[in-house]
Structures are given as C-alpha cells and as structure tokens.
C-alpha cells in the first residue's frame, strides 16, 4: 500500500459537487414526473392518435443508452440551432429519459387500480377527467411508490453521467480533484462513500414516506 | 437399545417436539416390524404429521431417539442423507418436482442419490410407474396430471428408492373425493406385497381393512394402540371410542 493521500480541503469541493448532483437529480425527476404522468395517461386513456406516439417515445428512450441521449441533447441539438447550457442539457436529457421509465411505472399503477373505481366515479356523474384526477391518480400514486422510489435512486446514480459534459457534480468534481492530484483511488473511494450514504439516506426517507401515505387495502397486486 | 427390539425395523422412543409455547409431541414411542402396516389416526393438529417428519428428521425432534434396523437415526454422527434414502416419504401436497416429467421425478433419486446410470434408472422408473398404473403418463409434467395421478407418481418416486419402509403423511387429504380411490388402491396393493408402511390418515375404511395395528393419538400422546378389530369393536379408552364413532359417522367408513 502506498498510503492514502486525501486532504480535508477536498471535502468542501466534493460537497459542492454533491449539491449539484442533488439539484440535477431533483430537477430531472420532477420533469420526468410531470412528463411521465402525461405519457402514462396518454397511453392508458388516449385514443390511437395519442397513445401510439407516446409509445414510440417510451420505446426510444428506454431502448437507447442514456449517454447517447445526453450527447444528442448537448452536441446534437446545436446542429439544429438549439444551444443549451450544460446544466440544462443534463437536466433535459436525464428528464426525458426518466420520463419514459416513470411513464411505464405509472401506466402499470393506473392499470392496477380496480376497474370498479372508474365505474363508480362515472356513476356519480364525474367526468372522465374528474374521475382520473380525484379517484384514479390518488390510488395510482400510492401503488407506484415502490417503483418510483427505485427510479429516483437510479437517477441519483445515473446523474453522474453529466460529468462528461463538464458539469462539476459529485462525479465531475471528483474527477477534477483526482486529475489535479493524481489520487484517483483515494478520491473515488470517498466519492463512492458519498454516494453510498446518499443512497442510504434517500431509501430510508422513501420508506418512511411510503408508510406515511399507506392506506389499508391498497397495494400493488403481488405486494405483501 | 432395549431388549426385545432386535427384530424391529423401526424403533421410535420418547419423541418430544415443541413449537414455540406449544408442545406438539409429548413423548411418543412405538416399534414397527418388517412388513407391518401401521395406521395413525387422531384429531387434526395432534402432531401426527410432525411425528412422521421426526422419523426421518425432516423435522428435528427436541428429545427422543429413532432407530432404523439398529442404526440410530437421531445421532449427530449419522449420515442423514443415507438414512433418508432408505425411508420413503409421501407428502400430503405431493411435492413433485415441478420442472421434471413423471419419469424424471421417479428416476431423479436413483440417479442422483443411489448413483445409478441413466439407462438403469430410466428402466426402473418405468417399472415403478407401471406398478402404480401410470406407465402411459411418463412424459407428462406434474401440472398436466390430476391430483390422484400426481400422488401415485409420488408413491412411485418413493418406491424407486427401494426403501425399507414408506411413511405416508395424509396421502389423500388434498385430493378430490373421486380421486382418493385410485391412491388407496395402490397403497393396499403395496401392503399386500409386504411393504412396511406407516400411514397417517382419516380414511377409516383403509385403516380397518389394511392396518396391522392402529395407533390413536391425541394431544401429542398415544392414547391407545392395537389391531383394528380390537380398536373398532372394543376400544379400551373412552376417547378412542368417541373419536371412532364420530369419524365412522362422518366418513361412513366401510370399504374404500
């Protein structure tokens, strides 16, 4: 072993990177959430005209690599005259990607809500939109929590990909420090630990959230 | 080992088993001679199945010992797999291997435990399947067989190991009524052929006509044991009489 070279002065920089990571993750998840719900509704309730394009979108973004999608947004869009900052490109690419996955999770959750629920709502005189908003979605959102939590944690880890477009998130900052001081091993062990703690904290919070909003009798089929 | 047990195939001595706070077996002992058919009856939940599973240590008894032909099954030093290969076990839920055909199920034991070559094992399996009347179902998967057929395959699986005795744990309890007969037929034939068997069952007709001795268990102890003629017509214990009259009413038990 040749010693562990890590200065405490690196920590604030890494913390900065961590902050950016959290920002990017939050932003892309939020974007993905809104778009994902819309796509899911389009797939479930839209006629052919809406559900097919939604399907194509979902297949494309789930079937192609995230890195490729990122480069399409950051390097490709300028070809079409659209120049976005690195931060926006990162959030957009990640957001478009997670939207496709979230759409599938929401679709599954919506379809898991019992048929009778929509019928009962319509029988009361609610319009389709009202029924979706007041009866279906509140249930679907509870059912989707496990899958959605999974996706959130996944995006937290995949957000590291933005280092490749020179963003100084936790990963990017780590690479910069390591490149300057030639201590890749030490820096990345610490970076790994940061991610481990972050993931742990996030999973615990999500588990707490799930328990808080739990309603007896409502769960995904197959879930104990 | 005690005196007078020299000719016993199986000796079960003072078995105790507790689950949590409940003591399910409170000191059960009996012996089994070669070729004997013993039937164990009694109300549900009295530890009959647990007793069977203690014999081949699928469930470990808390206290007590078991000997198979003089070898102590319950000793720490014994190779339990060798012992289990000599004791056949037929489950209430059949437990056929889902991923294998009937033939595959029957020849797995001979191949992997007894070390037979594939051709030998296959031939043996075909014979045993024929013995239980399912030669034509050799290539069917368990899911493609009726309950009665599955249970018969399960018996063939036990037979293929050439066991010294076979334990039957409520073999017909999970079957639809019209399928019970085909399984009992196989078991009766086995008894006639001289197989040593212990059967836990509610089938009184079977017990009456096939058993050499019936053991009545309740609340974890043996209440009474004796030949069917004695138990059914002149039971010594009041509980035995009570139980038998209720059951005979319920199951109408004369012949199978």
């Amino acid at each position: 072993m040749t010693g562990f070279y890590f200065e405490w002065s690196f920590l604030p920089k890494l913390a900065q990177g961590l902050l950016l990571t959290v920002e990017i993750t939050a932003a892309c998840i939020a974007f993905g959430f809104v778009l994902g719900v819309l796509l899911a509704l389009g797939r479930v309730y839209g006629g052919r005209l809406i559900s097919i394009p939604c399907g194509i979108y979902i297949h494309f973004f789930r079937g192609t690599p995230l890195l490729t999608q990122l480069f399409i947004v950051y390097f490709g869009l300028p070809n079409w005259g659209i120049q976005l900052s690195a931060f926006l490109s990162g959030v957009l690419a990640l957001g478009l990607n997670t939207a496709a996955y979230q759409a599938e999770y929401f679709r599954g959750a919506i379809q898991a809500v019992k048929r009778g629920q929509m019928m009962a709502a319509r029988a009361l005189g609610m319009s389709r939109v009202q029924a979706i908003f007041h009866v279906i979605l509140p249930q679907a959102f509870r059912i989707v929590i496990p899958s959605w939590s999974n996706e959130l944690i996944l995006m937290l880890k995949y957000s590291s990909i933005v280092y490749s477009i020179a963003l100084l998130d936790l990963m990017g900052m780590g690479k910069r420090i390591a490149a300057r001081n030639f201590n890749y091993f030490e820096v990345f062990v610490v970076v790994a630990l940061f991610y481990l703690v972050l993931v742990l904290a996030l999973s615990q919070s999500l588990r707490w959230l799930e328990r808080r909003v739990r309603v007896p009798g409502l769960g995904a089929p197959g879930l104990r | 080992m005690r005196e007078g047990t020299m000719d016993a195939l199986l000796v079960v001595e003072d078995i105790h088993k507790r689950y949590g706070k409940e003591e399910v077996l409170k000191g059960v002992s009996f012996q089994l001679r070669k070729g004997e058919t013993k039937v164990i009856i009694g109300p549900s939940g009295t530890g009959k199945s647990t007793l069977l599973r203690c014999i081949n240590r699928l469930t470990e008894p808390d206290r007590g010992r078991v000997w198979l032909e003089g070898v102590e099954v319950t000793s720490r030093k014994v190779d339990i797999n060798r012992i289990r290969a000599q004791i056949g076990f037929v489950f209430q839920d059949f437990n056929l291997f889902t991923h294998l055909t009937a033939l595959g199920n029957v020849r797995l034991g001979p191949m992997r435990v007894l070390g037979m070559r594939k051709e030998e094992a296959t031939k043996l399996a075909q014979e045993e399947l024929a013995r239980v009347g399912l030669a034509d179902k050799a290539d069917a998967f368990p899911a493609q067989l009726s309950g009665g057929q599955q249970q018969r395959v399960s018996i063939a699986r036990a037979l293929a190991m050439n066991p010294k005795l076979i334990l039957f744990d409520e073999p017909t309890s999970a079957l639809d009524p019209e399928l019970i007969g085909e399984v009992l037929e196989v078991m009766i034939q086995l008894a006639k052929d001289g197989m040593t068997m212990i059967v836990v069952t509610h089938e009184m007709g079977f017990a009456r006509s096939v058993a050499d001795e019936i053991i009545f268990m309740e609340k974890g102890v043996i209440v009474e044991q004796g030949p069917p003629a004695q138990l059914f017509s002149a039971p010594k214990h009041p509980r035995t009489a009570e139980f038998l009259s209720k059951i005979t009413e319920l199951y109408g038990g004369t012949e199978e």
């Binding site: 494309f60 192609t64 599954g108 | 797999n81 998967f141």
Partner: protein, 232 residues
C-alpha cells in the same frame, strides 16, 4: 431534408461504427457472464448461507447496487494503479460492470429461488439428497427458468450501460462516434441518432432471443406466483 444528407454522410462511417460496437458486445458478454456466475453464488449464499455468509452477501449486494456504475468504472480502472498494478480498459470495465450486474442478478435469482414452494426442497431431502445436490438438481433448474423475464430486464439495462465504458477510454461505439463528431461537428446529431438506433436493434433482438429461450425451456405449471413486474 438536410438531416437525411447528414445521415448519408454518417453512412460512410457505418462499418467502423459497427466494428466499434463489437467492443460493446464483447463487454456485454463478459460482464453478463461474470454477473451471472457471481450473482448466482451471492443469491445462494443469501438464501442458504448461515447468518455470517448471508450477511456478507447482502452487504456485497448493497454496495454494488448503491455505487454508480461510473464510479465503479473509475475505481476499477484507476484504482489498481494505486497499488502498482496496471489494468487494461476492457478488463477494468468488465470487472466493474460485471460485479455491478452480479448484484442486480443476485436479486433476480433470489426472488426466483424464493418463489419456489418450500415443498420442493423438502421432497428432495426426503429422498436423501444432500442440500447441495438438491440445490443443483431441483432448485436451480426451476429458479433459472423463473428468472428469465427478470434477467431480460437486466440484459436491456446493461446493454446500454456498456457505453459508460467510454469514460475509461475503451474504444467502443460512443468513443468512436465522438471522434466522428470532433472531425465534423455538424454530423453530431445524425451520428448519435445512428448509434441510438444501433442500440435499439441490440435491445430488441436480445429480448426477442431471450423470449425464444423462455419458450424453449418453458414447463407447464412452472411460473412465478402472482404479478411479476421485476424492477431494477
């Protein structure tokens, strides 16, 4: 449209792009095999190991699932040099992604093993099979069949992750695509779209193949209880 012209230009690079994509496929094969072997072992330890072994297995799984793939790649590529060992990009990437995949695959296999009714093991032991023999002849044949859908998901996931090896200088398809772009910036969009399409083909043909495998090895009566929804 201008775009199709660009696509045409990219077409000249197609042979080289496809050659580079072979590297991705090789990496895919290597990491899946490593992931499969270790994943099966870890799953078995989690289900059948004693308290110590299963805890170690669970910790292993947690570590390799919680650390981002990119960080693992860097650790495996740059890390060994800290100890004086030089590691090639392909080896580092295979190990990093392989261990990571093993953590996800172990979860799939564990789910499959636990979906098998307990009576199967009991029946095998009753015949006199040792635990190991029962696992080999009764449990695993069923578990692997049950695991195919979940494993398909893992395949889809990692085939795309091979592009991450770009970060440790592996000469795979994304790295080559970037050089095309560096030479002719206006080909960027077209090039990456082509790369994306290549992966669409890899993903769908892989899934179709796995679907065939599932049908070929299907056994009536052998299936997962209830809903599946394997999520990674």
């Amino acid at each position: 449209m201008e775009f199709f012209l660009k696509l045409g230009q990219v077409g000249h690079h197609l042979p080289m792009l496809m050659r580079a994509s072979l590297v991705n496929l090789e990496l895919l094969g290597a990491l899946l095999v490593i992931g499969f072997l270790i994943g099966t072992l870890v799953a078995l330890l989690q289900v059948y190991g004693g308290r110590v072994l299963s805890t170690v297995a669970f910790v292993y799984e947690w570590i390799f699932r919680s650390i981002p793939a990119l960080v693992l790649l860097f650790l495996f590529y740059y890390g060994p040099s800290h100890f004086g060992i030089d590691v090639q990009a392909f080896l580092a990437a295979s190990l990093a992604l392989g261990f990571r995949s093993s953590a996800y695959q172990s979860q799939i296999f564990r789910g499959a093993i636990q979906a098998i009714p307990s009576g199967q093991m009991v029946a095998a032991r009753a015949l006199g099979m040792s635990r190991l023999s029962a696992i080999r002849h009764v449990i695993l044949p069923q578990a692997f069949r049950l695991a195919i859908p979940g494993w398909s998901n893992e395949y889809s996931s990692v085939v795309k992750d091979t592009t991450l090896a770009y970060a440790v200088t592996l000469n795979e398809i994304m790295r080559y695509a970037k050089t095309i772009m560096d030479r002719q910036y206006d080909l960027a969009m077209a090039t990456f779209i082509v790369v994306a399409l290549v992966f669409l083909v890899f993903t769908y043909s892989g899934n179709a193949l796995l679907g065939l495998v599932e049908r070929r090895f299907r056994i009536p009566g052998l299936q997962m209880p209830g809903a599946t929804g394997a999520i990674l």
